[in-house]
Subunit: 530 residues, 2 copies
Amino acid sequence: MSITGENFIGSTRSGKGENSFQAFNPAENISMPEKFVYATEAEFEQALTLAHHAFISYKNTSTIQRAEFLEAIADEIMALGESLLERAAAESGLPMGRITGERGRTCGQLKMFALLLRDGWYVDARIDTAQPERTPLPKPDIRRMLIPIGPVAVYGASNFPLAFSTAGGDTASALAAGCPVIVKTHPSHPGTSELVSSAIIKAAQKTQMPEGVFSSLNLADDQSIKLVQHKFIKAVGFTGSRKIGMVLHNATVNRPEPIPIYAEMSAINPVILMEEALKAKGEAIARGLAGSVTMGAGQFCTNPGLVLLIENETGNAFLNQFAGYLSASEPATMLNKNISKSYHKGLELAKSVSGVTVLAQGIKAADNDRNEARPIALTVSAEDFLLNKALSEEVFGPATLLVLVKDVAQLHQVINQLEGQLTATVHAEPADQSNLIPIIDIITQKAGRVIYNSFPTGVEVCHSMHHGGPFPSTTDQRSTSVGTAAIYRFLRPVSYQDIPDEILPEALKNSNPLNILRLVDGSWKNGLIA
Amino acid sequence: MSITGENFIGSTRSGKGENSFQAFNPAENISMPEKFVYATEAEFEQALTLAHHAFISYKNTSTIQRAEFLEAIADEIMALGESLLERAAAESGLPMGRITGERGRTCGQLKMFALLLRDGWYVDARIDTAQPERTPLPKPDIRRMLIPIGPVAVYGASNFPLAFSTAGGDTASALAAGCPVIVKTHPSHPGTSELVSSAIIKAAQKTQMPEGVFSSLNLADDQSIKLVQHKFIKAVGFTGSRKIGMVLHNATVNRPEPIPIYAEMSAINPVILMEEALKAKGEAIARGLAGSVTMGAGQFCTNPGLVLLIENETGNAFLNQFAGYLSASEPATMLNKNISKSYHKGLELAKSVSGVTVLAQGIKAADNDRNEARPIALTVSAEDFLLNKALSEEVFGPATLLVLVKDVAQLHQVINQLEGQLTATVHAEPADQSNLIPIIDIITQKAGRVIYNSFPTGVEVCHSMHHGGPFPSTTDQRSTSVGTAAIYRFLRPVSYQDIPDEILPEALKNSNPLNILRLVDGSWKNGLIA
């Protein structure tokens, strides 16, 4: 499979533009040969017009047809074989094992949404039957379900070149919902994106999806903003930095016609270590935490960037244990040069804050420049942490800041001051329980996922996962980017009043041909309406 | 019950400000005596701080406690008796029968949410149990539910001084969700608002809700904007004009921490009259349509402001029938002087557009100024309609524009060009069916509710109602302001990972003490987890 550097305008490869960029291999610190051509204005408009027209028929495809499309995408991604894995590893600096696992997750997500479509209940069907005899006014027949919102713009993340990118969660949930997708390719892995796009296009053709159901575009910065502003785009999914997320957010919500944007941006994912937990299993926590901080060169949105513990003998013993594990950790290549630079800049800034001390550093990188990050743990007192807002900002990479609090009251003070987070974690023992309940109460207000005696990295893909959280972790805490509930991003309700049964969508017909759970006259039930 | 003109800062009446405004009786065309005092900066901050603190405990009240609170509000509203009805009628110009009905609807909504809380399934509980033996990684236990989002600012509507105002849908759904509410009183019915606020406060005290769970503030325009911008406000509900809705929308989404805003603004609610329907029952449609256009002086968000029909013999016969009914309709007092002025201004503008003709006018108002609106029906050709965007703007009042199309193709052209709507209606007979299906397909894209052989006025309050729609009918088409699904406005998901059962919220405990339907390992079920 050769890489052409072109855009996909629907199923057509096209690269008529004059400007281009190259991919970069961070581990080898060299540019890769192919030229990725930015879309021209005409190509851009054409992709959007195709998506707009594709929606007219794609929204009316059956859930089974869309399930087959998603399954075909998974098959075509697997059919790309080693070439995809090698390209993704080269462009991201991530090890082959990790990329292989991520490919499994990506295909697993597609199949999960296919299963959700086959189950069918996600349309949240609600039926209130007519009461023509009601006084003073007859009650009409009202039936409500969720329908697709329209074409979606997807901006993938650098840190998951497969699972949060071209055929990642947002694309899978939008296509599942019945929405055409336009992917803005990520400049950190454009070749990977092209390969995955080709798989999606093949699957669309094999399953006879309408032309324009998927396009992918290489876009310069100004074009990226134009994409969210385009009148044919009806929702936006983004995963990335707070800075770029807010640029897109502001462009989206200030359109003449505002539309939803789901930007997942930054988090420091606090981990609270209760005293009895440290006494009972400090060693295991130290080992686990060091693993979580350094996993994937710390390049996870759920990386534990903040650890809170009480400063006393138990706490100090833990610091020693943790320092030991962290010191033994290896440096690792980061996703790209910018992320590597930002990591070092962020660390310099944090270290320059009054009261911040280096607790431990991982093994130093070799001199040859492989864009490696050296793991690091810093400590600071709660007083200094509270005084310096800069310490609450995410440093993307294998770094964590341990904040030493005097007592439980000060612990409350620190967590009450935190911004919104994707996750918040507590390690505790039953003996901590009286202190634990108010802490869980506070962190539930701060985070989208509350974790007990585990670590935030590793996001389970399932029905009950909420991967989202209060601002600035996301711009819309009502929504998840992982798990089946992500389909709600791209759906909107519609009610049908007194519509004849033969014209109603299948999900709302009396005979319940999809055999789904529905709220009928106030009771949830399967089966038909007599 | 005397009106003091003060604000409710939590349960305390307070009116320390220097500036005030008076209510206005539109039917008598006079100002009412009481002075409503704008909140001072200190009162404003105090109400917000109280709401912020109230949330800490209010979010943890049980569903039963909140159900009792809502039921008590309904009881206290009824206990206000005639004084509430008389005040609301005087301030709104609406007849006593309508106000009495609206009170019933308001109390009915409160009780509907109470029942939803007692049912309990609205938290959308999803549980994926642990699989410690799973390879390569064990599967954690993940449980997700919806929790309240935080204090909510509510801006009620002039046209429903009870059902969409102080204790209206947004307040009811926010309080049901577990969110404290700050109401900005509507200057068109401040006395009604004060009476209803006093009922809410009494109910809060009787059911031992935390101080600050509800406040109501008289706010000048600049303070109204500050309310949505305040850091303690976490969501906004608004019903009113497009102009003010967009001011609040823009202020809300451009906060340093963006939050959801649900602004329901404007719609012209197209009604499409198919040829066979007009042949079979033109007379009944003409009568029903005239009633829908003029009901409540046309002051409904679902008022049918646009009617589409084919220009031919059948169509012309219908125009005559409709003109007959409309000509016989009475003038009626509008809600306030501004709305009355806007109605006349909007009509002048519409009439000045090339090709617009007056089809019929209702009975002329008497000379004494009671702020009355005279019903009117205008006609225009599809060509002229398509050329003049101004004709697509809502004229709030008992007016409608009938657009005469040449054929079904031109009908498609017109409806494809429409902006987003709350509702879209089709009148058809079985013989219209081949033309009907593509039309329903298009209008479903344009509207939140699709109605068959009925009229858009009259919004049923039930589980399956979606009262919302694409922009500009609302700023967030994912959400409804009527029916039980309105509770989702003020909820957000949270996942709990590996949290011990004794600490989990009741909705997620193994024993399922609330006995609610939950998605357990992919299957919806009641009952407990073994």
